[in-house]
Amino acid sequence: MSATFEPITGRYMNLDLFGRPHRIYVEHAGEGTPLLCLHTAGSDGRQYRALMNDARITRNHRVIAFDMPWHGKSSPPAGWHDEEYQLTSAQYTTMILEIAAALELDKPIVIGCSIGGRIALHLALEHPEVFRAIIGLQAGAHVDPYYDLNFLHRSDVHGGEVAAAIVSGLVGPDAPDKERWETLWHYMQSGPGVFKGDLYFYKIDGDIRGRVAEIDTKRCPLFLLSGEYDYSCTPEETLAVAGSIAGSEVTIMKGLGHFPMSENPEVFLNHLLPVLEKIGRS
């Protein structure tokens, strides 16, 4: 059996973020309109590999996914060993804008899931001029903590095992086993306290309930897609956000959960492709 290679290229980018040098891992595939992909909390850019491997997308999109600092193959900044990682809205926004600028992306489409879906709402509100369109997956304005987050980072609980076990039920019931367990493997590989640090943004700092209705979709089109089985960001919460933003378009994806692009790419792409086509026509 001969080896085959996927059409994905990975590179390391050295970039100053928040006044400190960072080493950021970036993958890309395809040519055309930039499509910048934001992964979920406690995971990394591998979640978007199905998009990068699908010619229906890459023939007219340059798909880019970076691992956030502390995630995947991106390192934490020097000095990390004496710090507690906590993601804030301001850092997250700065990171996305700086990386998009460093990659010289011209009016990219941004697609983000979960924390990436939440920051997509922040970007739609504060930086609509930067983006061609914004796609929020599993995007709610706020999620109340529903378990003790301290269990994610303590010496008598294995961080990788508990992170994957907490999110396992967020994968929809129809997800193929291969993709379900690949999605969970990414969670199992996350560094100590990183998932917890991301959830600081998701459950505390990133609350945008009071401002979400101010998003102006005339300045940047907004598409919201959420999986039926997501109990973290429920369809009802996504519908509530959509209902408060004039001009936003919402799709509830039957059978899917919290990780549509990685848990069940084949079904997800049936929802995403029409959205990309519509953006391409506008």
């Binding site: 529903y146 269990f151 396992s168 089985y229 109990y231 369809p235």
Partner: protein, 122 residues
Amino acid sequence: MIEVLQQRVNGDEGLVRRGRYLTTTFLLEVGPTAWLISIFEGRVVSVTRGPFVMPSSAFALRASEEEWAKFWSRKPPPGSNDLMALIKRRVLKAEGNLQIFMANLRYFKEALAKLRSEGAAS
């Protein structure tokens, strides 16, 4: 029906292997009915139906009969497909020493899903 937990868990070699460092007793409440479930090194060694005078357990999982019935259905609806989904909706109470529960969360999720109708996905 809770008694079948012993045979179904112990019959799953992978589940028992993943639980090999787990030895505990927990209380499962299905509406008004209580069960004490003892695990030794990943194997369920006893499932005892209450009522109890002074049940001793590391932690307890409590939900109504209706909620457990949905959780144990062949294809649970959204919001009922996972223990964490029940906890999020505040219909499952997890109380006691939850370190044991959380450190072995995959084990407990998969063990309790064994009570789903035969043929259902675990």
